[in-house]
Symmetry: C2
Subunit: 230 residues, 2 copies
DNA sequence: TCTCGGCAAAATACAGTGTATCGACATGAG
DNA sequence: CTCATGTCGATACACTGTATTTTGCCGAGA
């Protein structure tokens, strides 16, 4: 018995329903991050006592699951992608865009299996793009590998973005941005490769680094699909 | 000014120090997960009032950062890897093993930039393995892409593991394990590809699926290192 | 030796959290 | 008109991270 099994409460549910609860929670999270979402605040925003929510949701984690699935509705592409590569490409970019709109998604991505109806629809569309192209085992590996990549990449990107924001400095000025600690560490000479990196590295655009890494991984998948044994 | 800049308190620090605090927090987390770590419980385990901790740590998030860096000490390989591929391979597998020992690491991985001394040492070793092999830009892309992959893969693996544990069923019995919801969804016929997948798919070993995905990504990186423009 | 000042540590305090429980009220049935 | 049901609100509890106040010790000066 998970969230998804719970039926909408029977009839006269007042002006309150799950959709409204989830929407309130999402707007709260959009404004103040995940930690700004408390059942009391969600309830307050709906002019309702905190306990009312438990008629629609049985735990805060469930609310998070519902929020995530709501965002998967934004991720689902509106038109069926042409081939598997386009499908994964679009999925990755739409997930990233959604995370841009809902930064808190980065904190939840990959944290639990996504089994809501919208997430399932996304998975369906993705798998459908592989129809007849390879054995299920290979398809699974392909989808999971690409998903793991963009999930991890998005999380790191948001983590860096927040760090920059907290220090007010750019990612390129890594040393200063991270406080004297890193600078001092580098000065010890114990990290020559890292030091050279920080010193000579050029500022990289997050968009292109995400897209480039994605292309690499997609190339890898393409190679495996072409020669399944390799 | 970050955690790493804070000096150990001057001299007579009682039998208490950061190491002991972090160790207590880690053992608490190992036993009961991240949510079992509260400053009060950590303090209690050290026979100390909760406020004592604030002489060594200024926020709970800092404690988490310290815990993560402590685990990076386990991740750091004891001998210098032969080439870049071995370096990334080892890094990925050691990170996964560490997460197996400290499951809570999955919740923190990629959530914040890892800038502790041990994390820096790990980065140093990894970068050093690329010395002279390619321009910095390419090296960055290589390391970040592989890291994104294994970070995401480890998180998903732990997420699935927990879901299995919660339902007591195997990942292969996805439908039942996820409660009637998924089963019912699949029965609607709206997800034919997914249904076929769940129905025909074979149980996959987490070890091999992690290793296989990793090899794919490493192959991709190798291809790019060989032909930098491609 | 006694007293006082400073300071580390402990106790208390506060605002908030998720959630359980209980009491009132309103609404429908007989 | 009465009574039962069941929904909703208020209250309560155990806990959180952290700020503030109180305590008590220990060394310096008289």
């Amino acid at each position: 018995m998970t969230v998804w099994d719970r039926p909408e409460p029977p009839t006269r549910p007042a002006p309150l329903d799950r959709e409204r609860i989830v929407a309130a929670a999402i707007s709260l999270a959009d404004e103040g991050g995940l930690e700004a979402v408390s059942l009391r605040k969600v309830a307050a925003r709906l002019d309702v006592g905190p306990m009312r929510l438990y008629g629609y949701i049985s735990t805060k984690e469930e609310l998070f699951d519902l929020m995530v699935d709501e965002v998967y509705a934004e991720i689902l592409p509106e038109e069926r992608p042409g081939d598997w590569r386009e499908a994964l490409h679009i999925l990755a970019h739409r997930t990233r865009q959604a995370t841009r709109r809902h930064e808190w998604l980065a904190d939840l991505l990959g944290g639990r299996p996504a089994l809501g109806p919208n997430a399932l629809a996304v998975t369906e569309t993705t798998l459908a793009a592989f129809d007849g192209l390879a054995d299920l085992e290979t398809v699974a590996r392909a989808v999971e590998t690409v998903s793991a990549y963009f999930t991890g990449a998005i999380r790191r990107e948001i983590a860096n973005l927040r760090a920059e924001r907290a220090t007010g400095l750019s990612d390129r000025d890594w040393q200063r941005a991270s406080g004297p600690h890193v600078t001092r560490m580098l000065a010890t000479g114990r990290f020559p490769a890292l030091a050279k990196f920080v010193h000579d590295g050029t500022e990289v655009d997050a968009d292109v680094s995400f897209a480039t890494g994605l292309d690499w991984v997609l190339d890898a998948v393409a190679a495996k699909l072409a020669r399944p044994s390799a």
